[in-house]
């Protein structure tokens, strides 16, 4: 059931060696209750890990484990080299102009909070106060909402929002009302984790830069799916998270322009982020260390390095084409289910691989539960995007999300399981 070669052959853009790729991911061989094969359609929540990522972590733990930076011995040198090499690889993967601009955090959420939190204490140009404005959008993940709510509440600044069109795209009609001389920060997601929408970040960044605002891009769903060039994106700061790019949990990435990062005060204190500590006062190290307090996620960086290498090896253009093919196929398939309404763009162009939907008469939890009984793993709830759900007048939704290992056969399994759900709940 996991692949149907006939269908596969028909979809242009699909990764040519899909079976080979699937064989790289040990979990895909798992069976679930009742001996059912796993149909994993929850990759926007977290991605599965290829063997090479797991092996790189194991090799590190078994043969090179030591703390970094501080250690002068051979294991310390090996571990530091592995850790810093991961920084090089991530920098290359997102085309960062300088490796020092790549900061390892614990996840994307921490990276976003780091920016909002240090802006609280920023001086000069970056300082925020009453009358200043921060602009976000109604399709943000909570991790790109709550930090700005806290910042604006605490500084007296105002939080403003881009609205959404019926189709689930950013409503840019009032961009000149929203982004003004008062705007200090514009923070937005590149790809929506709920609606799938791909936003025109470079265009919005250009407008934001005209008024001197700082542009923060949440690329948590973009880096897994699109070839990313941080400079071309227009961002001043861009973040993503390791576990969604076939890497481990416990690591995220904050990239920022050196001028910006240099200007921000430190975030957490301690460990390698210092220059000198005196009882009266401490001074701080330069980037990237300034923002990496305490022992960093070492084995996680090693895993993330292997992960971006893996994606690079498959090719981000090919992965993007694959996602587009699968998403298009899924949109078609979902359209055949009576009573199903997709929240977000119905057109595969300008859209990522997360598709959220409602099904008349069945609550998302109940849908997910029935799908799970067929081995199909999707997410139900608000997907940490409550304002976007509120915008569409729904409290929650069901979301399927694909990745480079997803097959058309898995989409067929989803569609078939949705039909079963309708009959189980006797709707229609």
């Amino acid at each position: 059931m996991t692949t149907q070669t006939t269908t596969t052959g028909l979809l242009p853009g699909l990764l040519p060696e899909l079976e080979v790729i699937r064989a790289d991911f040990p979990i895909l061989e798992r069976t679930l209750a009742g001996g059912l094969p796993l149909v994993y359609l929850d990759s926007a929540n977290t991605s599965q890990k290829p063997q090479c990522v797991i092996d790189a972590m194991v090799d590190h733990l078994e043969h090179h484990n030591a703390n970094v930076a501080r250690a002068m011995h051979q294991l310390g040198a090996e571990s530091s080299e592995a850790f810093e090499a991961a920084r090089d690889r991530v920098a290359a993967f997102i085309k960062a102009p300088s490796r020092d601009e790549v900061i390892f955090t614990k996840n994307a959420s921490e990276a976003l909070n780091l920016v909002a939190n240090t802006l609280m204490w920023a001086t000069g140009d970056l300082a925020l106060g009453k009358g200043d404005e921060v602009v976000i959008t109604e399709m943000e993940h909570h991790s790109n909402i709550v930090p700005w709510q806290l910042l604006t509440q605490r500084t007296g600044a105002t939080l403003r929002w881009f609205g959404l069109t019926e189709e689930g795209r950013l409503d840019l009609s009032n961009i000149d009302d929203l982004i003004t001389e008062r705007t200090k920060v514009v923070s937005l997601t590149w790809v929506s984790n709920m609606l799938g929408t791909i936003n025109p970040v470079a265009e919005i960044a250009a407008r934001a830069h005209e008024v001197g605002a700082l542009v923060v891009v949440d690329a948590s769903q973009a880096v897994p799916q699109l070839p990313v060039d941080v400079v071309a994106s227009g961002a001043d700061v861009l973040v993503f998270t390791g576990h969604k790019v076939v890497g481990p949990t416990g690591i995220g990435v904050l990239w920022g322009k050196r001028e910006v990062l240099d200007q921000l005060p430190p975030f957490l204190g301690g460990g390698e982020m210092i220059e000198t500590v005196r009882m009266e006062r401490s001074t701080y190290a330069g980037i990237p260390h300034k923002f990496e307090a305490g022992t960093p996620p070492i084995v996680e960086a090693v895993g993330l390095g292997a992960a971006v290498d893996y994606l690079d090896h498959v090719g981000m253009d090919a992965i993007h084409a694959h996602e587009q093919a699968i998403t298009g196929y899924a949109l078609q398939g979902l359209a055949t289910v009576p009573g199903l309404r997709v929240l977000g763009p119905l057109d595969v162009t300008g859209r990522g691989g997360a598709i959220s939907f409602e099904l008349d008469g069945v609550h998302p939890h109940d849908i997910a539960q029935v799908l799970d009984s067929r081995g199909v793993a999707v997410r139900a709830g608000h997907h940490c995007a409550r304002p976007a759900h509120a915008r569409f007048g729904v409290q929650s939704s069901t979301r399927m999300s694909s990745y480079l290992y997803t097959t058309p056969g898995e989409i067929d399994a989803l569609v078939e399981a949705l039909a079963y759900t309708r009959s189980y709940f006797k709707v229609g």
Binding site: A33, G34, L36, H363, P364, H365, D366, Q369, V370, S373, R374, A380, G381, H382, R386, H389, Q395, S396, Y424
Partner: protein
Amino acid sequence: MTQELDTLYQEIILDHYKNPLYQGLREPFEAEVHHVNPTCGDEVTLRVHLDDVDGVLSVRDVSYDSVGCSISQASASVLADLVIGKPVTEAMAIHAEFLTLMQGKGTVQPDEDVLEDGIAFAGVARFPARVKCALLSWMAWKDATAQSQQGSTHGG
């Protein structure tokens, strides 16, 4: 696999889901609470009206407005049906029994004399992700009842 599903979605549950009892928000009440399941966004607003019945503090009404899945909706209906008209102490005992059942991971035998339709939730206990759904309105009721009692003590 349908069998597994059927343990969860007992007929009684689906009935309460489709035809919930005591739904809607009514007056009078001493306390109103709003509870949320942060993970999925299910919400309930619930009111409790307590009153003396023959010298015994009793549950006179439980009214609620909720959004959520079949399990959370049905459990609100079953809750209201079970506790309305009972002395508060007895209702609390039912609450404790239901909690034990839900947290038992499917190992607890429910007592039909106490839980009545509530025994249909025995299967839910085997789905850890859904236990929260079943408990949402029960937790709200306990909270509201505690507040009502405080209120009445204070107002005393």
